[in-house]
């Protein structure tokens, strides 16, 4: 059940109705002290149904991780228990996601038969909810959060369906307090949430999915296409992954908002970044925040001298790359970004405010670097990535296939960025915004309906799963 499906619309409507019913005065009075627990149980059951829809066996795994996190939270004063809990969660992630990868890599290195691999089904969203579980355990241990007594609340935090399968990675300290507040399905929340959801849906099924047609073909057969076509496909992929992932994040944020809960923004116009450091403050913000707080700082951060800082940066980014998938291409991708971060750290001394022309130049250079890195992220293996890079710069002849959706997407992105730039309070760190309208006005309703109509009319109707589901 993905967000872009009729099944989800029916499911979500039912959840909204049930949550809305609990908020009716008569029902609320009847529930009395059990009001919150009932609401949270509804959401928890709905989340497990949502997750079990993929494969019912996954529910046992997430329950196991939840119980581990819950108990570790209650026993947080015991360092051994906390460390063991984190290790258990990491082992779960390691076995399901990385076991076969390491066995096969080891066997390939020593030219032995990889007969020791196990036929696992990779549980959807495992990378996300294991990180959330670790976030909870760590925050409680570090005193940032009180241990949650309610198992339902902890379970809901880990399994909350809007962000379960592809993030954002919500911090426990941001979400758990919301469960104690009077948050509910309201007209205002529905108005805002649905608009954010639709914006995300447009980015996913219109822009990202139409771009995927081109990207998939070129990356699958790079030797057929010309250098220009390959370059265009690389740029297209940069936009596809942005629209796909930020679109999903918007849908997660929007659906949570409908239910009355607030998630932080996960993408903030990453392609206007003037350097790689800024890029990681704008791209997959929840992941980069998690990596910084729980990995980079735990390794020592920048507190142990320059060399150690660079090592910590590299290690964080390599592991961050590996988190995305069990493939050496992600390791290379992470290493490239790590190296760029180190270089940036080495050479940046002052934070002068640059001219507009300089900022555009820096942003262009950063985008070129990021796009080249995306080649490794997208390619099935390193040799394919190298073939693509070689074809791109060799100017060999091939099929010239310029793709109109790339132009459309680029125009859309530029227009949205310009609007955001004009509206942004700080022009130095420009922030995006959700253009939410007042749906009480006829003019807004017309725009809204036209937008929905265009989303349905222009949607790509072939199969195109969310990119980040594979992580």
């Amino acid at each position: 059940m993905t967000f872009a499906s009729i099944t989800f619309i029916v499911f979500f409507t039912l959840v909204l109705v049930l949550e809305g019913i609990t908020n009716v005065r008569v029902v609320k009075e009847k529930l009395g002290n059990h009001f919150y627990i009932v609401r949270h149980m509804i959401l928890l059951i709905a989340s497990y149904i949502f997750y079990g829809w993929w494969d019912w066996r996954f529910c046992f795994l997430i329950l196991f991780v939840t119980v581990t996190a819950y108990l570790a939270g209650l026993l947080h004063q015991n360092k051994t228990v906390v460390v063991m809990a984190v290790c258990v969660v990491l082992v779960v992630l390691g076995i399901f996601k990385y076991y076969n990868f390491f066995v096969e890599s080891f066997c390939e290195l020593f030219s032995i038969s990889s007969a020791g691999t196990i036929n696992f089904i990779l549980p959807v969203g495992i990378s996300f909810y294991t990180f959330q579980a670790i976030s909870y355990i760590a925050d409680v241990r570090l005193g940032r959060l009180q241990a949650e007594r309610s198992f339902v609340n902890v379970a809901l935090y880990i399994a909350f369906f809007p962000q379960l399968v592809a993030g954002p990675i919500v911090k426990a300290s941001e979400f758990l307090p919301q469960l104690s507040e009077d948050r509910n399905v309201s007209i205002r929340n529905l108005e805002t949430g649905l608009q954010i959801f639709m914006f995300g849906l447009f980015k996913k099924i219109v822009l990202a999915d139409n771009l995927s047609v081109y990207v998939d073909e070129v990356f699958r057969y790079p030797t057929v296409f010309s250098a220009g076509t390959i370059a265009m496909a690389v740029v297209s992929y940069a936009m596809q992954i942005y629209f796909d992932f930020s679109g999903y994040s918007d849908m997660a944020i929007g659906s949570a908002k409908c239910l009355g809960y607030d998630f932080s923004r996960n993408f903030n116009m990453p392609y206007i970044s003037k350097n790689v450091s800024e890029f990681w403050k704008r791209w997959h913000i929840s992941l980069s925040t998690w990596l910084k707080e729980y990995l980079y700082i735990s390794l020592g951060g920048n507190r142990k001298g320059k060399i150690r800082t660079y090592i910590n940066l590299m290690l964080t980014m390599v592991l961050g790359g590996l988190w995305h998938g069990a493939n050496w291409t992600f390791v290379v991708w992470g290493a490239l970004h790590g190296a760029a971060l180190c270089v940036h750290k080495m050479f940046v001394r002052t934070h002068r405010k640059g001219s507009a022309a300089r900022n555009i130049l820096y942003a262009a250079a950063t985008d070129i670097f990021v796009c080249l890195c995306w080649i490794f992220f997208r390619a099935d293996n390193i040799s394919t990535a190298l073939v693509i890079i070689q074809r791109m710069f060799s100017f060999d002849r091939g099929v010239r296939h310029l793709y109109s959706w790339t132009i459309v997407s680029l125009i859309f992105m530029i227009v949205c960025h310009i609007k955001a730039y004009r509206r942004s309070a700080s022009k130095e760190f420009c922030s995006g915004y959700y253009a939410v309208m007042d749906l009480g006005k006829v003019s807004s309703l017309i725009i809204w309906f036209v937008f929905i109509g265009l989303t349905i009319g222009l949607a790509y109707t072939g199969a195109s799963p969310f990119i980040y589901f594979q992580f």
Binding site: R400, V442, A459
Partner: protein, 352 residues
């Protein structure tokens, strides 16, 4: 009470906004997806033709144009008495995806004019019309348009279906309905509803059919569809049936004193090793060509022409700037190649 009134007012606003939105979306659809409304063909030359004059496509290629009075895509003005060559085929010959002046029929007309041959080409290519449908409609098409010299039929498959051939031979093929009456007819007059219908239909097809990630599978499925979905390979029976089919076609063409030319357009595909190929099986092509030859039907195979063009120019005959390269409908280059090949073939037949 106040809340209920507010809800009613808001619902009224939604209704008004909805009407306005459909109108705006319909204007958009008019230029993005407007094939027009199908109308049952009175002459039987095709199962149906188009009611609307203006047509547009923006989802697979970008093209707009006007149909003629009979509902076919002809930009070259030709009187009925001037028709020398009748062109029949599917959506490829319907040519909605390319500008009218880039279509096979227009280019062929131009070549005929500039070369001095002077044959007039009339196109009744129609969306959804397979080789079987064109064969079944051949008699009515020849009766209606009475070309003086040739009738050309496009085929996307050379491995024909026994069942489909039998239907045509026995006259039991059911004509495709046109939905030119009732509520569905009036709903089609709202362009956005047509686009919506297409999107929902495609999404449902995705849910029903297995996902064909591999290009070859998808193209094979398309060939199967053209051959009726049946790949019976019982050689003697198939050979007999094929001969009967060709005999029928030859007789019908012969009774109107026109030469029948069948041209085969295989799907192209990009192979895993990065080379480009076509999906036609050489044995099937040879068998089909032999059957045509036995009954005096001219046969043109576009396979080598498509591949040679790719080898020389790295161009694929299918696909557009808003679709996958090498898939879907004939693009401008594809139309040029087909028009050139048909012209050369006709000149060869004429001994010129």
């Amino acid at each position: 009470m106040k809340n209920a009134k507010g809800v009613v007012i808001w619902l009224l606003k939604c209704f008004v906004a909805g009407i306005a939105a459909v109108a705006i979306l319909s204007v958009f659809s008019l230029f993005y997806y407007n094939h027009g409304i199908r109308k049952t063909s009175e002459t039987g030359a095709t199962d149906y033709s188009w009611e609307n004059q203006f047509h547009s496509v923006g989802y697979e290629g970008f093209a707009w144009g006007f149909n003629d009075a009979d509902g076919y895509n002809n930009a070259y003005m030709l009187g009925r008495e001037d028709i020398d060559i009748l062109l029949m085929g599917s959506s490829h010959m319907n040519a909605y995806n390319v500008p009218q002046k880039s279509s096979v029929s227009y280019l062929l007309n131009q070549k005929m004019e500039t070369s001095g041959a002077g044959y007039g080409v009339y196109n009744i290519g129609m969306e959804g019309h397979t080789f079987y449908m064109c064969s079944d409609n051949l008699k009515d098409a020849l009766e209606t348009y009475a070309p003086h010299k040739y009738v050309i039929i496009e085929t996307r498959s050379v491995k024909l279906s026994m069942e489909r051939m039998e239907e045509v031979l026995t006259g039991t093929r059911k004509r495709t309905p046109a939905f030119d009456s009732g509520l569905i007819y009036y709903m089609q007059k709202v362009p956005y509803f047509c686009l919506l219908h297409r999107q929902i239909r495609d999404m449902c097809d995705l849910n029903d059919a297995s996902l064909a990630d591999d290009n070859n599978d998808a193209a094979e499925a398309s060939d199967n569809n053209d051959s009726g979905g049946a790949l019976e390979n019982q050689a003697p029976e198939y050979h007999t049936q094929l001969n009967r089919f060709m005999e029928m076609l030859a007789e019908e063409a012969g009774s109107y004193n026109v030469k029948l030319l069948v041209f085969y357009m295989p799907n192209t595909c990009i192979n895993d090793d990065g080379t480009v190929g076509t999906l036609g099986n050489p044995q099937d092509i040879a068998e089909f060509a032999a059957a045509c030859s036995d009954y005096g039907i001219e046969f043109l195979d576009m396979s080598d022409i498509f591949l040679e063009n790719y080898r020389q120019n790295y161009e694929l005959p299918f696909g557009f700037s808003n679709t996958e390269a090498g898939k879907g409908h004939l693009n401008r280059r594809g139309h040029e190649l087909v028009a050139d090949a048909l012209f050369d073939k006709i000149m060869e037949i004429e001994g010129k």
